[in-house]
Every structure is written in C-alpha cells, then in structure tokens.
C-alpha cells in the first residue's frame, strides 16, 4: 500500500504540522514503507481474534473518589507564556 501526497497533506493539517516539499517527499517514502509492513501483517488470518485494546493483558485499576490534588496554579502558570486573572491566555479563538 502507498500513501498519497493528499493523505500526507491532510494529516499534516489535522496535526497542525507545516511540511515543506522535501519533507513531504521523504514522508511519502517512509510512511509508504511502514504501510507495506502493515500490509504484511494484514495477511495474517485474524477472523477468530478479538481486537486488542491494549498490549498488556491486564485490567485497569480504579481510584477512589477522593480529592488528592491541591492548588498549584502559581507553579503551573510560572511557565505559561501569558496569564491574566488566573486564566491562561491564548491567541484569540473564534468558533
């Protein structure tokens, strides 16, 4: 299987990654190779195999509903580019 240039451009938009021409060509090749490997895996008969949700054959442990976190806003906001009135500021988003 190969990956088209359009696929790469679309995924780049979704991932908010800007790619130049050289990178697109390299990715076409690299991702194409990975997909070929996946094609080989696809040849295996998996009709009677449950899809795997996680590579570990274990069950999730759950946590009791008790507050364990304290307010550390000051520490977190010390590394934020911009804050005001306790809010994180980001470039304006209009929906």
């Amino acid at each position: 299987m190969t990956i088209s240039r359009e696929d790469i451009e679309k995924v780049a938009v979704l991932a908010r990654i800007r790619l130049d021409e050289e990178q697109i060509l390299a990715l076409e090749n690299d991702l194409g190779n990975i997909l070929s490997l996946v094609d080989e895996l696809s040849a295996a008969d998996t009709d009677n195999v449950e899809p795997l949700a996680h590579p570990l054959d274990a069950v999730q442990r759950l946590r009791a509903d008790e507050v364990t976190e304290t307010n550390q806003r000051e520490a977190f906001q010390a590394i934020a580019p911009a804050t005001e009135s306790g809010l994180y500021l980001v470039p304006r988003v209009i929906e």
Partner: protein
C-alpha cells in the same frame, strides 16, 4: 407537502463525583480559575490518568435505570482535535466499547399517551475546559477547572417526532439523573447539555433525510424553540427545492437565530484510536449489584406505587412522582392527612401555584409536608371549609403559626357541623325570606332550583359568621325547602 420530523438527542450529563474522571482534582463549582486544574488535567508530560471508580458506578446506575445492558469490558479511546480548552489535544472518551449499551426510557405525552425512546448507548468521557472570549485584549482566556470533569454522553435513537416529544424526553432524563443522584441537575451551570439532531422526510417515507445537529442547548425552552426554528428552516429549504447540508449549527435563544458552525465536508477527522494510557475496565456482577443497591425508587416505579397505594389517577401520580422532593413532600402530607386525593390536590394546586408565584423550589417552601397534611386532615374531617382552608394555608405560609389547628382556633375558622345548630339557622333564615321560598317551591325545573339555593347560602353563611359547614347547610336546605 407534509413532512415527518425525526429527532435524536445527544445529552452530556456531568456526573456529581467529588473529583475528576482521571485525576484527584476537585470538581466543586465556582472555584477561582485554574485552581482545580492539576498536572494531569493540564496534560503535563509524564502524567498518567487513573480512572475514578465513582464515575463508573454512576454510569452503571444510569444504565440500570434505563434498562440497559452494562458494558462488562469498556475501553477508552482518544478523539483527537485541537482546541485551547483541551490541553491534551485529544478527548479521552469511549467509542466501540461504551459502559452502557442499548436501553430505553418511556415518556408521557400531554395527550395521556406514552412513548418509548430507545437509548443507543451511553459512554464515559471527560469534559473540556472553558474559553472566555471577552476582555483580554484580543486574547482568549482559558479556565481548565472543568477540564476532566466526568460526563456521560447519552445517545438516543431517532425516535422522537416533535419538539414536544423531545422536550418530554429531556425533562424525563433530567428528572431521572437528578433523582438517582448521579447529577446535580443544575442546567444553569451546564450540568446537562443537549445536542439535537433533526431531519425531515416526506410524510410516511421510510428514508431518513439529511440531518443537522444543533449543539449545546441548556434549557428546555431553548430546546423547544431551537427545534421549531430548525424544522421551519429545513422545511423552507426543501419546499424551495433545495437540499439540506449536513452540518453543526449553533442556536441563539435570545435572538431565535441559528448559524452554521461547521459543515460535514470540513468536519474534524477525529482519528480515534484506543488510549494506550488506560487498560480496559472490567465491570463484574458484584460491582453492578452494589450499584443497583444504591438506586433509589425510580420515578416510573414511584408513579406506579402512587396509583396503587393512594388510588391517584395517572396524571396526578405522574406530576407527584417525577421529582423525588415533591414526591417526599406529598407522602409526608399524606401521612398526616390520610385523604390522598385531597392531599394531591393541595400539593399540585395551592402549594405548587404558590411556589411558582414566588419562584421557589419545594425545599425552599416555608411550610413542611406534614404542616400541609394537618390542614388537609382538617378539611377531610370537616373542621374547616375549603375557603377557610385557604386562609389557614396563607397563614401557615406566612409563618403566623406552625400548625393548622392553632390558626383555625385563632382565626375562628372552625366550621360548625352541629346539625341541630345549623337547622336552627336555616329555619331562621328561611322564615325571613318567604318570597324566595315560595319561588323555589313553585319552580318545576330542578336545575333552576339548584341555582336558587345559592340565594339562601349567602344569608346562611352570614348568619353563621362564615363558620357553617356549607355541605350540611345545603343538605338541610334541600330537605326543608322540598318538604
């Protein structure tokens, strides 16, 4: 052309857990911005989610309450998109293995019929933070206190065919999640948010039309308006020969307008995949049974019991059973008053009208169920007339005294039911009104006679200083005038 309206709902319900779904941060409402946003909620590198057991318990309780299958093995997936109020760049949600499978809710409609609305599934997921678009010099402010609050998203089948049905379902669901205690039910704070999928098809056609989704309706009134608005918009387009574009729309309730948010063509491609940070969650029988034990009586069960135990009609039973607090108030009243029908009339009539007029909820009422029940008991045993009872109610409400008997005593509202005394008053009044008595006796039409009785009641009530039992007066009058 005649059209059928097809409506399906997606409802986000904030679960009333103390902490978030994947971290031990508090979910208390109203805290200073970002003081309840921990490293996990902020998606700091190296942090890992640990799911909250109570969120699963609440989701299972919901599943049991809507007669659904419980997902014994539920799996979290990542739904990827970029938005500043979603620090991880993905929402942790459930796609193929939700915690709650297919179920149903029966709704009651105004015409007395009922209808079954099927639940497709309900899944657990995390809420996003809040974006504040005003006041920051061209910047957007982000508060992540809400990020990671547990939600269940409930998805219905497209089983509703009018705004009335959709609103009836929404109200039923609201009452259900509030009464089983998994959600605080406060819609003004966004604890329940409704997305409405609407399409039209030619009347009787089996083929569904293209649907639109109107998002984030947080009141029943807006929901009703938004549906009416969208149905009209689609009808106009279709009748002009146009076609509906599959899109997400935002409805502005203040202006009764809607606008497109994004169309399907440019819709997000969410690239779901199983979340590698979380293992499958396995729910066993013991967990399900312990959740079942926590379920209080459900509104439908309560309604059936009210009909059976108190002999109420369907309509009264429904109005009294929907809200657990009103139901408890009613039962407290009945325990004093015995006469359930009369108690129901007072709770749904005078009492509810007063609550509405003062914009109060039942817990804010200045009187208790047993206070109202004592009054009902005094009406039932003829101590006080219904007009006298209204005065007693007024005085109870205003806190003039804490029980009906004291008010009846103090205001002299005790009804005279001593037949001998009443007969004497009737004799005296009739003796003073010979012309009217003659007129009554000459009248051949019993209906007109009945009306004429009213002419004697005024003087009788006056003679008894308003304390004569009107029912007994009436009986005595008919007997004496007839004889």
């Amino acid at each position: 052309m005649q059209w059928d309206i097809v409506i399906g709902l997606e409802i986000h319900v904030q679960l009333a857990t103390k902490t978030k779904i994947f971290s031990g941060s508090s979910t208390a409402f109203g805290a200073e911005p970002n003081t309840q946003a921990s490293a996990v909620d902020l998606a700091m590198p190296g942090t890992l989610p640990v799911p909250n057991e109570q969120a699963f318990r609440y989701a299972v309780m919901f599943g049991l309450a809507v007669n659904a299958e419980i997902g014994r093995r539920s799996v979290f997936d990542r739904k990827n998109y970029f938005y500043p109020d979603l620090p991880k760049g993905y929402q942790t949600t459930q796609l193929d293995h939700p915690i709650v499978g297919p179920g149903f809710v029966d709704i009651d409609l105004e015409d007395g019929s009922s209808k079954r609305v099927r639940i497709h599934h309900a899944h657990l997921e995390e809420d996003a933070g809040k974006s504040l678009h005003e006041d920051f010099d061209g910047m957007t402010g982000i508060d992540l206190n809400r990020a990671g609050t547990p939600l269940i998203e409930i998805v219905t089948e497209p089983d509703m065919n009018s705004a009335e049905e959709a609103v009836a379902f929404a109200k039923k669901l609201h009452s259900l999640v509030s009464s089983i205690g998994i959600c605080d039910g406060d819609m003004s704070q966004g604890s329940l948010r409704f997305d409405v999928n609407i399409s039209l098809k030619p009347k009787g056609s089996d083929e569904l039309g293209t649907r639109t989704e109107t998002k984030n309706l947080n009141s029943f009134r807006f929901m009703e308006q938004a549906i009416a608005h969208e149905v009209e918009r689609q009808m106009d387009i279709l009748e002009d020969g146009g076609r509906i574009i599959q899109e997400t729309r935002l409805y502005n309730g203040e202006r009764d307008e809607s606008r497109s948010m994004r169309s399907k063509e440019e819709a997000n491609d969410y690239r779901y995949f199983p979340c590698p940070d979380l293992l499958p969650v396995v729910i066993d029988d013991a967990f399900i049974e312990s959740a079942r034990d926590l379920l209080p009586e459900l509104p439908d069960e309560r309604k059936a019991r009210f009909k059976e135990q108190y002999g109420l009609n369907d309509y009264d039973a429904r109005l009294l059973s929907d809200d657990a607090r009103i139901a408890a108030f009613f039962e407290e009243a009945v325990s004093q008053g015995k006469d359930a029908k009369l108690a129901a009339n007072w709770v749904l009539g005078e009492f509810s009208a007063r609550l509405n007029a003062e914009d109060k909820t039942v817990v804010q009422a200045p009187i208790t169920g047993s206070q109202l029940g004592q009054l009902v008991a005094r009406i039932a045993d003829n101590t006080v007339s219904s007009s006298g009872a209204k005065k007693v109610f007024e005085a109870l409400w205003n806190g003039d005294a804490d029980n009906a008997d004291a008010i009846i005593e103090a205001q002299g509202l005790k009804q005279v039911s001593d037949t001998g005394a009443l007969e004497q008053m009737v004799d005296e009044v009739l003796a003073g009104m010979p012309d009217q008595v003659a007129q009554y006796q000459e009248e051949a039409d019993p209906k007109k006679q009945k009306k004429m009785l009213g002419g004697f009641m005024g003087p009788l009530m006056k003679a008894s200083k308003g304390q004569g039992n009107p029912k007994l007066f009436n009986e005595i009058l008919v007997r004496k005038l007839g004889g």
